[in-house]
């Protein structure tokens, strides 16, 4: 199939989808179009071609093209016959032929139409292309619709009507038809004239009432110019004068018949044949440049389906096997503690003006905040330096953080540096809530981290809310330690 036919099928598929009001799902066609690549328009064409519907349309198009071929053949024959017919009318039973009359019958209409074609092609009132070609195209469409019984042919035909409007394709097809058919007409006329002039003898005369003799001589000279240029014998002014009606004796039969035939050839057949060729070349060029109008409704929605965005390449470095079986730190409430309460802040949201935090009823000894490496080192060495066993070491953490292995390692380090119990106390649940993250899950993650690090207890509190159950519990548990340090 030619590129134009592929695009015709795509356009027909679009019209059909538009009629149905939805995209026809054909994932196989989509993915083949994606794989084929190219720009969006090329992928659209490819998709249509791969679809079952597209293949049906292509079949219909094949059938229509056959019908078109026979119709075109018929038109060609008709034009040829018309040409022969007009020659027969000119060279009738009468043995005298009026030269002016014969020329205008064989060439006049044709030249007038050529003039109109030039005007219409230059000004393009309705896309141009010539009346004959347009009529022929319309007839082919109309007859094609009637002759093809498939339901798809209506869609294919309206798709081709739409497509032919683009890029002058329809104009040049119509032009090629126009000129081709006229060329056939001229060929028929030439054949008819040659035949008539071969088997019968005619007297050539001319006459005028309005014009001067000089103007007729000039006209003949003009018509004869191409033949003369080629060296063929043509009637000169003497012969012309001698052939005027009313003068005695016929002169220059061969010369006149030569002029007649060469006029049909040079002013009819040749220009039409050349123009047909030119039009065909322009058809080819337009066909080569033809692209779908992707702004038409129905195409844009396919863009995403037909575009590749990403291609997974899989796992490059597999993860370690899952470690399972760890339970969160037990929720069993420990006994109230006696002895000093040590407090470490781990990656808290609160700024330094808010540190150390105060909690009524609890008097803790702050060891500092463990936000970076040096702070952590200092805290751990301070913890190691304490001789007395503390009542409890509280690591105040933020629920807003995701517990990571860094925090876990810090827990373990604290655990290793003290003989007293170590608890993780989780604050700033409000910050977490403000972010719209679920709290229960985060709490469990901290409990798991605490379990892995060997902490004794994990408790959620809210330092800004004395009545928070966790805060109350903390006060009850460590409040005993007031002043004990």
């Amino acid at each position: 199939m030619t590129p134009v036919r592929h695009r015709l099928v795509a356009e027909a598929v679009r019209l059909e989808e538009d009629r149905l009001g939805r995209i026809l799902d054909d994932p196989a066609a989509d993915s083949r179009a994606r794989e084929a690549g190219g720009d969006f328009e090329q992928r659209l064409v490819r998709r249509a071609g791969e679809m079952a519907l597209g293949r049906r349309f292509a079949g219909t198009l094949e059938g229509l093209n056959q019908i078109r071929f026979w119709l075109l053949l018929g038109a060609v024959v008709l034009a040829l016959v018309a040409g022969i017919g007009s020659a027969a009318a000119v060279f009738g039973q009468d043995a005298t032929v009026n030269i002016g009359w014969a020329l205008s019958a064989l060439l006049g209409l044709q030249l007038l139409m050529l003039f109109l074609w030039v005007v219409f092609t230059l000004y393009r009132p309705k896309g141009g292309g010539g009346t004959l070609g347009r009529a022929a195209l319309a007839a082919v469409h109309g007859l094609g619709r009637r002759l093809s019984r498939r339901p798809e042919s209506a869609v294919v035909l309206s798709a081709s009507v739409g497509l032919l409007r683009r890029g002058g394709l329809g104009r040049w097809i119509a032009s090629a038809l126009t000129h081709g058919l006229w060329a056939m007409f001229c060929l028929g006329a030439l054949m008819g004239a040659v035949f008539a002039l071969s088997v019968r003898q005619y007297e050539f005369v001319w006459g005028t009432t309005l014009l001067t003799e000089g103007s007729f001589i000039a006209l003949v000279a003009m018509l004869a110019a191409p033949a003369q240029w080629l060296g063929w014998p043509v009637p000169d002014a003497e012969v012309v004068r001698a052939s005027r009606i009313g003068l005695e004796g016929a002169v220059g039969r061969e010369l006149w018949s030569g002029l007649l035939l060469s006029s049909i050839l040079f002013y009819g057949l040749l220009p039409r044949a050349v123009l047909t060729l030119v039009s065909l070349l322009l058809v080819r060029r337009a066909a080569g440049r033809l692209r779908l109008d992707t702004s038409l409704p129905g195409y844009a929605r396919l863009s995403d389906r037909l575009a590749s965005h990403a291609r997974p390449v899989g796992v490059l470095d597999p993860g370690p096997p899952e470690t399972q079986g760890l339970e969160p730190v037990s929720k069993a409430r420990p006994a109230p503690v006696h002895g000093p309460v040590l407090l470490i802040g781990l990656e808290l949201e609160r700024d330094s003006g808010d540190w150390p935090p105060r909690l009524a009823g609890v008097d803790w000894i702050t060891l500092g905040r463990a936000d970076d490496r040096s702070q952590r080192r200092d805290i751990l060495s301070a913890l190691r330096a304490r001789d007395a066993v503390p009542g409890v070491v509280l690591v105040l953490c933020s629920l807003a953080r995701t517990p990571d292995r860094g925090a876990e390692r810090f827990f373990s380090a604290v655990r290793a540096q003290t003989r007293g119990p170590v608890w993780a106390v989780l604050d700033e649940g409000r910050t977490l809530a403000a972010r719209g993250t679920e709290r229960a899950g985060r709490l469990r993650q901290w409990q798991l981290a605490g379990a892995r690090a060997g902490l004794d207890y994990v408790l959620e509190i809210d330092l800004d809310d004395q009545r928070h159950p966790g805060t109350r519990e903390l006060v009850e548990l460590v409040g005993q330690g007031v002043g004990a340090g």
Partner: protein, 467 residues
């Protein structure tokens, strides 16, 4: 240098690395996302390709960095008397025993870093600039690969974007880009690629093509969405039902309800098509209570409250009648199409449609009336669907929350005249799929109307983006 640039996505645990990859690749099935630490424990890759399938960039998803403290300690221990430079120290660390045990996760990341053209460091900018993040960035700079910090969750009210930008500048990281993985922003994505371009001179051309390709895709997407809405409006505007005048009240109500159902279903089809277009499956969000069914979206098209909610001005007839949604349309039509007004210009204006004039006058004389969708309902449709399209345009493929149409933005069509092609479609029952017996798809004028309306909607969409 390989043909396709390799960019590794790194960051602390649970900052949205996988989400970033999902959004950039438009693939909501890539990897695993959850609010847990260390959800991603492997290195997984995805190739960004142009529309025509040409690969441009290999993006690598990595496990989160969790213990930069420990890694820095280990690297410091390796400094030793020989004075290795930083990348060499990282290499030695990777060859050492700790890389296979304690810091297996971090080692995976660093190994990819050394082998990449650039790194994207994802930051949850709701977090304060903690010591561990600075330490992570220090380690990353040891790898001698350009690092582009990407601020995630900038759209969150708790965002600390300025603080982060200041701190990053102190760490000598001046090319920073804000890109929310949940709230998608085409301009943000383009900025991200532009910043990468400044860091990756050798891949300037492919990145430029990627930017251009994504821009074009965005345009196609907007056009397609606008087209769906245009089709919906043309179909709804032209919907026409002839109702016999001698129908009992109960039957009339039934009939009107049935017609309304047809319009509602048409809207639902359009919504489904839009979701599909933006690659969001409605089934995927079922558990999250898709408000399209339940919340504000569930509000009925024909409910007068819905009109108010979306700021649609009620037409005179509707306001005066204050009738329940159902009766509203029929009542308005009764007034405008009643026998009394069926003269002169009214005939021309209202009946310039496809039903043969004679037949329609005959019907009118014999007490038939016509049911159509009111202007207010059409306005509501426009505003609602525009809100949906905007919400979809701004939704990242990493978003897991429910889709909501958000506040009702003020569309210029909420009040005042309807778009011209819609007004035209009012008079063209042949254009409407809701009139199956009249619908004629071969008409080129319908196609032209859809095209023109699409352009108007596109213009309105881009207006809203500018403001």
């Amino acid at each position: 240098m390989s043909a396709v640039m390799k960019v590794v996505v790194v960051g602390h645990t649970n900052t949205g690395k996988t989400s970033l990859l999902r959004t950039l690749s438009r693939d909501e099935t890539f990897g695993q996302v959850s609010d847990e630490p260390a959800t991603t424990r492997q290195v997984e890759g995805i190739q960004l390709v142009l529309s025509d399938g040409e690969p441009v960039m290999l993006l690598l998803d990595t496990p989160g960095l969790e213990d930069p403290d420990g890694v820095l300690d280990a690297l410091d221990r390796l400094a030793g008397p020989e004075r290795f430079d930083a990348p060499e120290r990282v290499r030695r660390f990777l060859d050492g025993p700790e890389a296979a045990t304690h810091y297996e996760q971090e080692a995976k990341v660093l190994r990819q870093m050394l082998d990449s053209d650039a790194a994207i460091y994802v930051i949850d900018c709701r977090e304060p600039v903690l010591g561990k993040y600075r330490e992570e960035l220090t380690i990353l700079t040891y790898c001698a690969v350009p690092v582009l910090p990407v601020l995630n969750f900038v759209a969150n009210p708790a965002s600390r974007e300025p603080e982060w930008r200041e701190q990053l500048a102190r760490l000598n990281l001046h090319a920073v880009v804000a890109f929310d993985t949940v709230v998608f922003d085409e301009a943000g994505e383009r900025r991200l690629y532009e910043k990468l371009r400044t860091l990756l001179d050798a891949y300037d051309r492919p990145l430029q093509r990627l930017i251009e390709d994504r821009r074009q895709q965005g345009e196609w997407l907007r056009r397609a969405a606008a087209e769906y809405l245009a089709e919906l409006l043309i179909d709804t505007a032209g919907c026409l039902r002839v109702i016999p005048g001698d129908l009992e009240a109960v039957k009339l109500r039934e009939m009107i309800l049935r017609n309304q159902d047809a319009v509602r279903q048409r809207e639902q089809r359009s919504v489904d098509a839009l979701l599909r277009l933006f690659r969001f499956s409605s089934s995927h969000y079922d558990h999250a209570q898709l408000p399209l069914v339940n919340g504000a979206w569930g509000m009925d098209l024909f409910n007068p409250d819905a009109l108010k909610h979306y700021g649609v001005r009620m037409g005179g007839g509707a306001a005066a009648g204050a009738a329940a949604g159902a009766a509203l349309d029929a009542a308005t039509l009764g007034v405008t199409l009643g026998l009394g007004t069926l003269t002169g210009t009214a005939v021309g204006a209202v009946l310039g449609t496809s039903l043969p004039l004679r037949k329609r006058i005959w019907e009118r004389l014999h007490g038939f009336s016509e049911w159509r969708v009111s202007d207010d309902t059409l306005r509501l449709l426009i505003v609602r669907q525009m809100a949906l399209i905007r919400a979809l345009l701004r939704r990242g493929h990493a978003a897991q929350g429910a889709l909501s149409s958000g506040a009702s933005p003020d569309s210029r069509w909420a009040r005042g005249a309807l778009p011209r092609p819609v007004r035209e479609a009012r008079l063209k029952p042949k254009w409407s799929r809701l009139n199956p017996e009249m619908f004629d798809p071969t008409r080129g004028d319908r196609q032209l109307a859809v095209q023109r309306l699409t352009e108007e909607i596109l213009a309105d969409l881009s207006d809203q983006e500018v403001t």
